[in-house]
Symmetry: C2
Amino acid sequence: MTTPPAASTQNYVGVEVSGATLRAALVSARGEVLGRREAALERDGVAAQVARVAAELRDASEGAGAVSGIGIGLPGLVNPATGNVVISTDLPALARGDLRTEVEKATGLRALLENDANAAAYGEYVAGAGRGSRHMFYITIGLGIGGAFIFDGRIWRGASGLAGEFGHITIDPEGEECACGNTGCLETVASAPNIVRRTHDRLFRDNTSSLSRLALNRDFTASDIAREATAGDDFARLMIERTGRYIGTGIAAVINLLSVERIVLGGGVMEAGALILDPIIREAGRRSFQPCFEATQIVAASLGPDAVPVGAALLARAAA
Amino acid sequence: MTTPPAASTQNYVGVEVSGATLRAALVSARGEVLGRREAALERDGVAAQVARVAAELRDASEGAGAVSGIGIGLPGLVNPATGNVVISTDLPALARGDLRTEVEKATGLRALLENDANAAAYGEYVAGAGRGSRHMFYITIGLGIGGAFIFDGRIWRGASGLAGEFGHITIDPEGEECACGNTGCLETVASAPNIVRRTHDRLFRDNTSSLSRLALNRDFTASDIAREATAGDDFARLMIERTGRYIGTGIAAVINLLSVERIVLGGGVMEAGALILDPIIREAGRRSFQPCFEATQIVAASLGPDAVPVGAALLARAAA
């Protein structure tokens, strides 16, 4: 037996760029996180900031091995031909630049850009709650609701490059108007801001809720609702449970259509744990074809805030 | 240049077994139909009937080339490991026998069994309205509503082997009860029997409709509704248009989730032509994410009753 030479230990830097924050991790080829960095995003110099943070991570992990590439997950659509950002609603400046090329120049490493939901999906598939499945649907529930399919290790992009728009499935044909132009999209009731809106709308009916007391002092967030539900507040539990049922209705469509092996749920709203996961599973079971439902595992994501950096790093590895 | 030797001309027999009928075709390797046979299904001797009809087709097409295999599409689930039928709700006897092996013994040819919706999807993909697309969703609307995805030339089966259950997508969470246990499945409003039911339920409100006069003499069918709509009856048009909107709502979920390149619609209900296709496309457009919708073509199937035999024959070719 021989020890593999040190040069074969390849690590990757994974970066998550969001509207306010840059979060980076040094990630091994197997998806282990060897180091982390987080900073306020420098919107005017994203490439330079990525290069600086990547160098810091490398320097802080001397002996962990070489850095072989950089993956960046961001809120936008990446042109597969150029590898650069085409559209970014949160960070429109990214679409005007040539971020991939700039990062490569600033670091001397190969860089890869990917939509953040796709990157998180890939991270969970390889190194998180999707590990061991052949096909998986990843759902992220936060400010918006996104999704991504991974079939046999590859992100499914579809004809538009935008597949996985789980948040815009119609779950109530006569429901609320959505920014997308439709009515009754899942996102109109189950995204974090809409959970807050629904809760506000009904709070006056139940002013014994701990959320009523909270609302006297400040606006509450979806995290507050999840926390009060966990602490036992009945009204908060009801709102979380109803949210789970909406999400489960959408998941039933995924199960009926594709019979995917595993569905992984991430994003801040999943902080409510079993209080939201149980009604999701119950409603998905009620609304999907039984043999399809029985062949699908519905689980919570396991990488937490590492999902995008880890997935982006592993995509950089896969592209190398 | 040399003429290819005659021995390289390979044809396949494709068979559709349904509850009442056996329909067969001799099909070239490119999907052209060289001959057809149709007969009442002999339920007690399906394998022998298939062998007899295959021999008739071969004899009637002397000079067309050898028959290299047989594909059979049927209303059931096929075990991929054995190639035999596991479940058939319409023809339970098929699941007790060993149909694939029996057909091989009776014909001396390799035989392949496939679910009928999958076979029709494959036929349309290779030789019909799906030709030229990379990925396609096929929908068949008749007694029930079925579907099948073809991704890069392969039928998508999913973890259960039953993917494509388009008819059981929830399109109205508070809708009618479905045999599957859910409420508001697409099938509860848009299958042929349910179009008839909805039309009956509302007919008394509009007794100027030509369907009212028809109903005095006999029960009418979904085909009657399609025909009266085509002939200009306003009430029949309304029922067909509303059906199209239900189907379009379900299609929007497929577009949002997968951004498939093409969606092909077959089955008896599509006899209404543009009267149903136009509202389908309109509603799908209204309820799907615009860039995904724009990348999807929604078209009527083109193989008609040949879809299952042609698809089954081409699957036999692909497996050879």
